[in-house]
Symmetry: C2
């Protein structure tokens, strides 16, 4: 059937071409020309898809991070123990935040997968995609209903309804894409078994609405089962894949999938569009960096009458009340900015992002999303209280994990350096050491701060502020520091020559392997 | 002096090359290789600058739109007349929103101008840029202080301090960039009068901190003068340029500036990076589309106890209370999404964005930023009240202007179609008519709705909702509608042949003009 359709399309194109030749001055001419130009040029149509995806990434990144707002706006009484309120927070709101982040990023990964198959778009697909986006932005709300009222089926029903419609829209996009093959990925476009691809992709996409449909039905009968079904639909492909991967590692069999087969395989090295990972990351970092200024602009402009009565008309006195908020803003902006800077440096050297790297990136971003909350907490309590100490330590832990996951991306990339890294960034060399130093700076500094605040708990705030001030300068001086460290190392290890040999070996290995493989 | 510096750099490069040849196995090797690779490839370093700018665009677009939040969160009593509260709103908060939007976009335009000169970045510039971003995100707050306490010099002092530091950072970026010429725009890099460029750019950049310094001083002596100075620094280049442009139009002299001289000229056809205009627009549309869901996720999850007591445990009853909010969300998301879609279609055909198009785009975006507020208002009042009618009419007006400014971008592009549009989109033809229909759909529909609500004020809400439902389908069917309309037109005008002739003439004109010019 698909072949027949294809033939029809080819015939249609041929007849269009003939029509074009026949009547050059008819007004349909410029339409035809535009279609052929945009098809031939490639630029304008690729651009088109690029911008739609950038907009989608921006929307999804905002939605993924906003569930931190209900957490951040939970009022904590200054005299209350943070431990208690934290436990209260932890049980629902932070869990909702993390689960929302996870679910939205799963939806985002599905969106990437879909638009790696369909590389060019037209108006119809753009509008369908917007409808899909609207439903994705509604997911966090249904999820927070599920978390607040776990025993009422309404939340899960709404969630399932959204997921079903999203799945159906994606299926329509795939069917439409295969109906207009010039919209497809070049690989699939020239492939002979297009029908196989279509069936394979549709099967995977439609699995989600099918599962959600049953989950929706079970929510009336026995709702815990529907939660199990939903967890299954999200994690099943990953679990089976990781089991297979582990099995292969144990047995030692190394199955190499052909490039095009990696689409929709859920393989850990399935390619993930590097541009989109970057766009999504930029979106999350940008919204997180500005979350606190959003609050400041909304709440911290003092009232005219209040200033007159309470502060005898002194605006400076009124503003100094908000001092801690401003400090929290600058602190979180600097930290988020520098973590973005590290991420930016890292992805400059990465040539291809894999699904596993994307997963680590998601974990890192989930930590980053919690940063404004942590910074807000650090300034909410009286000086030298137990609460303040704990808030500072939580901030350190969050920054530490955000940094560690970034480091993990780098280590993962190094494991497949041939595919994922620029040649000049592979093992060894000064640039390599520099990158490592950049990635290790935040984890090591926050770890030091954490232990220092444990020992010198009285000066915890001072230590924390000192860290915030020192870190940006450390980044500025990092290249110099690394050069000094490397030359010191060279001085120390000069008698033992093997280091140089290792480098040479590393270089000679490269072309040799190329010949073998 | 600059020449001497350049020579030094060239010498430095040469010595590096020689050193590289001399000692291939030293560990500095991979660093050199990386530098030369990234310089030669162009790709990795361009990418670098690209992502920094994308992140900056995301930050600036968020900051530009958030000042609508204090407006949106102003509580309006349901029994109060909207007219009054609107006047109250209009006087300060909406003015603050619009002025912030303007100032932030001016800062953004300066940022574009700067990074059109400096096309490649390194770590130092990335960190400087982050510092600059932090200050830009703080501008809205200082501005809202200025608006709330116009007679206290603190707000203007803070604003001036931020502007001075931003200006100085930009000057450092320029000096650093000209100190490392491989970071510069290719045009300037090969140009002979680099020193002239450097001086010209520095003069323009440092004008801002100088003016702000005096404005800061005058804020102590006679503060209205400092407002005048600030207005001057923002509008002076535009005023002089538009006066010059008008003068030239009247006299008829057409001065054609060389391409490279257009940088930092404030000329209406000064190029504005199309990618950055798109990225900024995407950011604004994305944050505006999600502004209402941010509120919904934060405020509209009902409380467990409240549901139990007030609604006898019925979650659906509790949620139906929030029905109007959900409707407002979907309405604003659809409208913003479709306006983005029109913008996306428009910029697909644009090859080069000019400063004047950027200005019109800013006006359109400022209207779009007000949409969530307007939609929120439509559902805040009792049915068939005078307030509801006014809120609906305000929504129509805002959408109308957002659409009209997009149409104005298109018209401006058509005036210089040779430079700004793809060849297949120039005057005449079906694709041209289709684009025009897309751009005209929202203005015409909202205008109709506006007048219908004036006449049938009793059914205003129904008419408004009908419009919201019809418009997406109108976009889907637009291509068909345009084809039908065109063939109808052809049928009507068939006897009068000149239309065909005009088309032919139009086509024949193109190559002829090419020969002449």
């Amino acid at each position: 059937m698909a072949e027949k359709e294809e033939n029809e399309i080819i015939e249609h194109h041929v007849s269009e071409e003939m029509e074009k030749k026949r009547s050059r001055t008819r007004d349909s001419h410029s339409f035809l020309e535009s279609a052929t130009i945009s098809e031939k040029e490639g630029h304008s149509s690729t651009q088109s898809s690029h911008r739609l995806l950038a907009y989608s990434d921006a929307l999804i990144s905002i939605i993924a991070t906003i569930m931190i707002l209900p957490v951040a706006h939970t009022k904590i009484e200054p005299d209350q123990e943070l431990q208690e309120s934290l436990q209260q927070l932890l049980t629902t709101k932070i869990a909702v935040y993390l689960m929302t982040f996870l679910i939205v990023t799963v939806a985002w990964a599905a969106h990437i997968r879909l638009f790696q198959v369909i590389e060019r778009i037209d108006d119809f697909l753009a509008l369908l995609n917007l409808a899909c986006m609207m439903l994705i932005t509604f997911l966090p709300y249904t999820f927070s209903l599920m978390a607040t009222f776990p025993e009422v089926p309404l939340g899960i029903l709404l969630f399932c309804a959204c997921a079903i419609v999203i799945g159906l829209i994606q299926a329509v996009i795939v069917i439409y894409g295969f109906g207009h093959p010039y919209l497809l990925n070049d690989h699939i476009q020239i492939s002979e078994n297009q029908t196989f691809y279509k069936r394979h992709i549709l099967k995977i996409i439609l699995r989600v609405p099918a599962f959600c449909f049953f989950a929706g039905i079970f929510s009336f009968i026995f709702f815990p089962l529907s939660y199990v079904l939903l967890a299954l639909v999200i994690f099943l492909p990953y679990i089976t894949q990781s089991l297979k991967w582990c099995g292969n590692k144990i047995v030692g069999r190394q199955e190499e999938l052909p490039e095009s087969m990696l689409l929709y395989s859920y393989h850990p090295s399935e390619p993930l569009s590097k541009e989109r990972v970057e766009a999504f990351t930029d979106g999350v970092y940008a919204i997180v960096a500005t979350l606190l200024i959003l609050d400041i602009c909304k709440d911290n402009v003092p009232d005219r009458n209040e200033v007159k009565e309470k502060y005898q008309g002194s605006l400076i006195a009124a503003l100094s009340e908000f001092g801690p908020e401003f400090l929290a803003y600058f602190g979180s902006f600097v930290t988020v900015g520098l973590l973005w800077f590290v991420h930016h440096s890292l992805f400059l050297h990465v040539t291809k992002a894999t699904r596993f790297m994307g997963l680590l990136n998601t974990f890192s971003l989930a930590c980053v999303g919690g940063l404004p909350l942590a910074y807000q907490l650090t300034h909410e309590f009286t000086k030298n209280s137990r609460n303040e100490l704990e808030a500072i330590q939580i901030s350190c832990v969050i920054i530490f994990f955000a940094g560690i996951f970034q480091l993990a991306i780098w280590v993962t990339a190094l494991f497949n350096e041939r595919e994922t890294l620029h040649p000049y960034m592979r093992y060894g060399g000064r640039e390599h050491a520099f990158m490592f130093a950049k990635l290790a700076l935040y984890p090591s500094v926050t770890l030091t701060t954490f232990f220092l605040t444990c020992i010198l708990s009285k000066f915890s705030a001072q230590i924390f502020h000192l860290m915030q001030i020192v870190v940006p300068f450390a980044f500025l001086a990092l290249r110099v520091l690394v050069s000094v460290a490397l030359s010191l190392l060279k001085l120390v290890f000069r008698p033992a020559k093997p280091m140089h040999n290792a480098l040479e070996e590393d270089e000679s290995r490269l072309p040799f392997n190329d010949v073998v493989s």
